[in-house]
């Protein structure tokens, strides 16, 4: 029970920090593009990371 709780917290922390963002992207990519015939291949870890950074800093996301 305890271990399960801690594991859950650890996963939340991984998601919050963005550590497992690429894994979640891959999962999403497989789910949504599995049936598409000539779907684009998934981005590499580096490409994905760079794209996310660009996107993140386009708008207001840090405040006073």
């Amino acid at each position: 029970m305890w271990i399960k709780r801690l594991k859950h917290l650890w996963h939340l922390f991984l998601e919050l920090s963005g550590e497992d963002a690429y894994e979640r992207y891959l999962k999403h990519h497989v789910e949504y593009h599995a049936n598409v015939v000539d779907a684009r291949p998934a981005l590499t870890r580096k490409e994905f990371y760079m794209l996310m950074q660009e996107k993140k800093w386009q708008g207001v996301n840090r405040c006073c």
Binding site: Y32, Y49, Q53, W57, G59, R62, C64
Partner: protein
């Protein structure tokens, strides 16, 4: 049975809140324990969250758990994505909580601990948290549209344009004042300057690591970065003790200001992965870690508050900034009580991540309560200092005199005990050459934090704690500076794109350089003036920022009120109209006084006239006479800027009132832009 138990439990919470509040408010003459402030805050937040926020969610907004959110309907795995509520809460809190709630309460402590504390608690519960929550809700119902777009859709083009220009100007003033805070913390402090300077290569190193060495491994990279930052605090101490090295980092305000301006330009033009993104990871962990550490230290240590509940400076003669308690305590403390800037976040990334509307209360209302709690801790850190020490650190040389002996005499004449020896010893303990006239709030907050940390975790490390606190403040002030300059650049490119397509392209390098230069020149100008101003600059810039920020909050509340009225919820419109009325009252009063007051420490024109009279009479010493023309010009500019803010605000309000009136009469108005109902499948 369970209902009765809950009733008893909440009654106890109410009683504790009342006891704590009356202790804080009615205590006179004796010093009180900081734990009373913490207790009052926690109980009030709990009651407000459980009852007021829940009531707003259920009755006013009528949150619908069965309704699909934009994250679900428009899920694209990138910006629209249903996300666990704790994750959204974390991102939202990291976005809204910046240096504002640390600086404002520190400055406002000149009125005593009571006014600031009450405004932080009441303002957050009735104003700030409500604003954040309703804005988040309305944006969620409109596919995550921004505040500016909602203002245009619901009120009209004028409201939308005012919101857009207002946001841009706030950004400029905010960055200038934050830059000034950092400059004042680094002035003639080789330790602080070298530590802050070291954060730049550290961030770049981490950026390279996350891009090239181990792409996307943010946790391990951040861990390395945090260790390097802590080492840089030690290294700064070593540089400070090294006679040959320390001179390279010992500078006046002006060269430091130029350095920050150059840095700001570089940060806006460089790719985000190199500087901004890694700096943000580091500052987020630093911020969370330090805030938690401070809370733990306050609870362990239970420090005594030495500042009186209310000081004589409520009459407007305060040394840190001029102006009476009303309206200036409400202007000085914006972030932590109510901050319009949050409306931009609540209508930005956050609504696109919400998995279910029921999370809106926790994220919108809850995150603001947490930020308010940070502000309470800042006020504790400022007021645990001896008042004499607090005023010695925060009073500008232009008010108390340049010489230590004059400053001490002046502060003693106000009835606050402090001696030159005491200040010298304190500076020595903190590893600084002097702590007199270190305006801007950062040094005094750092001294407060160092004494709290020092008492809780070991006194012999005071100098390290002090510079750790300075580094912690500097790192996320610089993050806000980088991010703000960038956002300012995007906004400007967006506006210019209407006239010239090429200028609107965010990847077109000449446009990037041109617009970045304009934004940096904008805040660089105010920073420059702030540094050459013998009164410290913060006394002018911070109120201007406060007025601008409260104006943005008022625009957000105008949008919310008009949506409530248009959707037939007139009887609940007071939920947003009440804080709106208060904000309009304080911003209009403050703006009026800043423009028309005869008091040269309040009125911009009065100060300009006074200075030019003295200049023509030859009554100014040479160093002041040389900068006087620039200061006079700046006072005029500030007056017109304030005028612009208040006029823009009233235009939006009248526009909103007209829309409400027309809606109630059944006349034709802009239709609601709410997206249609779709049932959730999650």
């Amino acid at each position: 049975m369970q209902k009765n138990l809950k009733f008893v439990l909440w009654s106890i919470v109410v009683l504790i809140a009342l006891a704590a509040l009356s202790t804080i408010a009615l205590n006179r003459g004796e010093s009180i324990n900081a734990l009373w402030l913490i207790t009052a805050a926690v109980c009030i937040y709990a009651i407000a969250y459980r009852f007021y926020a829940a009531w707003i969610a259920a009755k006013v907004l009528v949150i619908d758990e069965t309704r699909a959110t934009p994250a679900e309907r428009l899920d694209n795995g990138r910006d629209y994505m249903p996300t666990n509520k704790w994750i959204v809460f974390g991102h939202h809190f990291a976005a809204i909580a910046g240096p504002g709630p640390l600086v404002g309460p520190t400055l406002a402590a000149q009125f005593g601990y009571l006014p600031g504390t009450l405004w932080i608690l009441i303002g957050a519960v009735i104003g700030g948290a409500v604003q954040d929550m309703v804005t988040l809700f309305f944006s969620t119902r409109r596919n995550g549209r921004s505040l500016g777009q909602m203002a245009r859709d619901e009120i009209g083009v004028i409201g939308g344009t005012a919101a857009l220009i207002g946001t841009f100007l706030i950004m400029i003033i905010l960055i200038a004042v934050l830059g000034l805070v950092v400059v004042n913390a680094m002035k003639h402090s080789p330790w602080a300057t070298s530590t802050v300077a070291a954060t730049i290569p550290i961030a770049m190193l981490i950026g390279l690591y996350m891009r090239n060495i181990r792409p996307g491994r943010v946790l391990e990279a951040s861990a390395i970065g945090v260790v390097l930052l802590l080492l840089s605090v030690f290294a700064g101490g070593w540089i400070d003790h090294n006679e040959t090295l320390r001179v390279y980092f010992d500078h006046d305000g002006l060269p430091l200001a130029y350095a920050i301006i150059v840095y700001g330009f570089a940060a806006a033009v460089l790719p985000v992965w190199l500087l901004l993104a890694p700096r943000d990871y580091l500052s987020t962990y630093m911020k969370l870690g330090t805030v938690i550490l401070l809370a733990v230290a306050i609870v362990i240590l239970r420090p005594t508050i030495h500042m009186p509940a209310v000081t004589q400076f409520i009459d407007g003669t305060g040394p840190i900034f001029g102006g009476k308690l009303f309206p200036f305590v409400f202007i000085t403390i914006a972030c932590g009580a109510i901050s319009g800037f949050h409306a931009l976040i609540a209508s930005g990334t956050t609504p696109k991540l919400l998995a279910n509307e029921r999370d809106i209360r926790m994220i919108g209302y809850g995150a603001m309560l947490l930020e308010s709690f940070v502000a309470i801790m800042a006020i504790i850190a400022a007021t645990v200092l001896e008042p004499g020490v607090f005023f010695a650190i925060n009073s500008p040389a232009g008010v108390v005199g340049k010489e230590a002996i004059d400053a001490v005499a002046k502060i003693n004449s106000w009835g606050y005990a402090v001696t030159v020896e005491q200040m010298n010893q304190l500076a020595k303990d903190m590893g600084e050459s002097s702590l007199f006239a270190r305006t801007g709030g950062a040094p005094s907050l750092a001294v407060g934090m160092a004494s709290i940390f020092g008492s809780a975790f070991g006194k012999h490390l005071l100098a390290l704690w002090y510079h750790f606190a300075i580094m912690f403040e500097a790192i996320f002030i610089l993050t806000t500076l980088d991010a703000g300059t960038r956002v300012g650049r995007f906004m400007l490119q967006d506006m210019l794109g209407n006239f010239n397509k090429k200028l609107g392209e965010t990847s077109y390098m000449p446009s990037v350089i041109f617009t970045s230069a304009i934004v940096v020149a904008g805040w660089g100008y105010f920073l420059y003036i702030g540094v050459i101003d013998p009164n410290g600059g913060v006394n002018i810039l911070w109120p201007l920022f406060g007025i601008a920020n409260q104006m943005l909050a008022a625009i957000a509340l105008c949008v919310a009120t008009s949506i409530l009225v248009k959707s037939g919820k007139l009887k609940y419109a007071w939920v947003t109209a009440l804080p709106l009325a208060w904000l309009v009252t304080i911003t209009t009063t403050a703006a009026y006084q800043k423009i028309f007051s005869d008091d040269i420490r309040v009125g911009f024109f009065a100060a300009a006239n006074d200075l030019s009279t003295k200049l023509t009479a030859g009554a100014l010493p040479a160093d002041k006479a040389s900068v006087a023309p620039q200061l006079i010009f700046n006072q005029h500019l500030d007056a017109y800027l304030t005028m612009f803010f208040v006029v823009a605000l009233w235009v939006v309000i009248l526009d909103m009132l007209y829309v409400c009136y027309a809606s109630l009469r059944g006349a034709s108005i802009l239709p609601s832009s709410e997206s249609p109902y779709i049932k959730t499948a999650l």
